[in-house]
Symmetry: C2
C-alpha cells in the first residue's frame, strides 16, 4: 500500500418498502466498510427505496426529497464521524413536477461536496425512468473530494463511452456507477448471461479507454412488479471494481455484500504512459459525435 | 441460417520477409475460407510484410504501394473468382513522403469498393508508426458492399470508442479491425494477460455500445527487432468475432488460423430495441468531446 492506494467499499444490498430500514442498513454497511479501512464508500442506485420505476405511479413521487435534505444530512454526519467519503444515490425533488435521479457526494468533514444528476435516462418495459426522472442539467462534471476527483455517473450512463470520456477529460481520477440493473425472470439463462457479461464488459472498457479505475455498485434481490403484469426484476448484484487496465480487482456474487478493493491511483499514470490514448484522439474528426445520426 | 446470416472468415497469419510468400499465403487462406463458405474475409494489418515499425528506417518505405495497385488488383481478381468480399490492409504510397496505413475493400465483382486510412496513429517503443503513417484524412466513413456497410477501422483505432460510434452513426452494420498487436517478451505473464484481456474487452465494448458485431483479425508469431535493441514482438493472435451484445462467437489461439463465424445481422435490430442507446445519447452535452482536455 502506497500513499496513492485508496481502499474503497461498494455496498450491494436488497431493499424493501420501509425506507428507514433501507437507509439504516446502508448506514450499518458503511460502518462495517469503515471498520475494514474503507476511505470511500459507493452505495447502489436509489438505495433508500425499492426500485419504484417498474410502473408509472404518481404516488411514488412522494419518495423524493430535497438535496441537501434529511438523507444527505444523516449521511454527512456519518461521513464526518467515520472520516470517509460517501457517494449516495437519491431521488431528488427539485421542485413540484421536477425530479432527478441524483448522486450526492458527502465529504469527510460532513459537507456536501457536490451532486451529479443522471444525464442518460432509460425507458424500457419495467424501467419507466423517463416518467420519473428529468434528464440531468449539470453535465459530465467530476466532483473534487479529499480522496480524489470523482467521476460519478449513474446506471444507464454506464452504456455511454461519451460520458466516461468527458469525465476523464475533466480530470476524473476514477469512475463510479451506482446502479440498479437486473433480469426479467422470463429471459432464458443464456440471454441473462449475455446481459450481465455485457454490463461488466462495457464498464471495464471505460477503465481501459481512459486509464482509470471503475467502481460499479449494483442492487440485488428480487422485487415484484406492483402492477402484477410481469414477474418483476431479479437484480443481479455482481458489483465490481476494476483497475486502470480494466483488470478485475474484486467482484460480488448475487447476494448482499460489502465489497472491498484497494485502488492503486498511481498505476493510472503508468498505464497512460504505455497506452497514451489521450495523446492521439482525432479531435479534428469527432465533431459529428454531437449528431443524433449521420444520415 | 437466415438471409441475414453472414459467414465471415478472419485470417490470422505469421509473416516473413518475403512479401510474395506472405501474399500467397494470404491468398491460400482466402481460398480455404471460401471453401468453408465465407462471404466476407478480413485479413490482419499489413499482411504482406513483417511488422516493419519496430524501428525507424527510411528503406522500409520501399514496401509501400499505390492503391489501386498491384495487390488490390490481385485481391480484386480473387474476390471476383471466389465471389466474396475481401478486406485487406496495405501500406499505401500516396505520394513521395506521404504514406498511409490503409485498408482496402474488394467487392465480389473485383472492384475496389473503398478504402479507409487509419485515423489514430500510435507511437510507442517498438511501434514507431508516427514515423511511417500519415494520419488518415478520409474520416470515419463506412464502406458499402454487397454483404453490408462495413465500418473498417485499423488497429490503434480499436482503443477509441469515438471511432466505433462514428461508424455506427453512419450506419455501419459491423466493425472490422485488422490488427498487429503483441507483447514485449520482457513483460511478465500477468501484464501480458492484462493487455490481451483489455484488447478483447475494449473491442467487445464497441459491439455492446453500438449493437453491432465486431471482427478483429490479429497477426501471430514472433518477429525480431531489426535494431537488435529489444527482444522483438510476440504477436498474440487471439483473433475473434463477437455479436451485437459483445458475446464471443469464435476465438483463435496464438497459432495461425482461419477463423470462421456466422454473424446474425438481424439480431442487431432486436438488440437495439431492448438496449436503445442511440435514442438516449445526450448530444446536447457532448460538444467537449472535441477538446483535447477539459482544463
Amino acid at each position: 500500500m502506497t500513499d496513492k492506494t485508496l481502499r474503497v467499499a461498494l455496498i450491494q444490498q436488497g431493499c424493501g418498502d420501509n425506507r428507514e430500514d433501507n437507509l439504516e442498513r446502508s448506514i450499518q454497511a458503511i460502518r462495517e466498510a469503515s471498520a475494514q479501512g474503507a476511505r470511500l464508500v459507493l452505495l447502489q442506485e436509489l438505495h433508500t427505496s425499492l426500485y419504484f420505476c417498474q410502473c408509472e405511479d404518481t404516488g411514488q413521487f412522494d419518495l423524493a426529497e430535497s438535496i441537501p435534505g434529511p438523507t444527505t444530512d444523516r449521511l454527512g454526519q456519518l461521513a464526518r464521524e467515520l472520516d470517509l467519503v460517501i457517494v449516495a444515490s437519491l431521488f431528488e425533488r427539485r421542485a413540484a413536477g421536477l425530479y432527478h435521479n441524483t448522486a450526492a457526494v458527502l465529504e469527510r468533514d460532513g459537507a456536501l461536496a457536490g451532486i451529479y444528476r443522471k444525464m442518460h435516462i432509460p425507458d424500457d418495459p419495467g424501467f419507466y425512468e423517463k416518467f420519473y426522472f428529468t434528464p440531468g442539467d449539470l453535465g459530465f462534471t467530476p466532483i473534487d473530494t479529499s480522496v480524489g476527483r470523482l467521476g460519478v455517473l449513474v446506471c444507464w450512463d454506464q452504456w455511454y463511452p461519451e460520458a466516461a470520456r468527458l469525465m476523464a477529460l475533466a480530470g476524473a481520477d476514477l469512475l463510479l456507477y451506482p446502479t440498479a440493473i437486473g433480469w426479467d425472470p422470463r429471459d432464458d439463462r443464456d440471454e441473462q448471461a449475455r446481459q450481465r457479461e455485457a454490463w461488466v464488459t462495457i464498464q471495464r472498457s471505460h477503465a481501459i479507454a481512459n486509464g482509470i479505475p471503475v467502481l460499479a455498485a449494483n442492487r440485488c434481490g428480487h422485487e415484484s412488479d406492483p402492477s402484477g403484469h410481469t414477474e418483476g426484476i431479479e437484480f443481479w448484484g455482481n458489483s465490481f471494481a476494476c483497475g486502470a487496465q480494466g483488470e478485475i480487482l474484486a467482484t460480488a456474487a448475487q447476494e448482499e455484500a460489502i465489497l472491498i478493493a484497494d485502488l492503486d491511483l498511481a498505476h493510472s499514470e503508468d498505464v497512460r504512459r504505455i497506452w497514451p490514448y489521450l495523446r492521439d484522439r482525432r479531435i479534428d474528426a469527432y465533431e459529428e459525435l454531437t449528431l443524433r445520426y449521420r444520415d
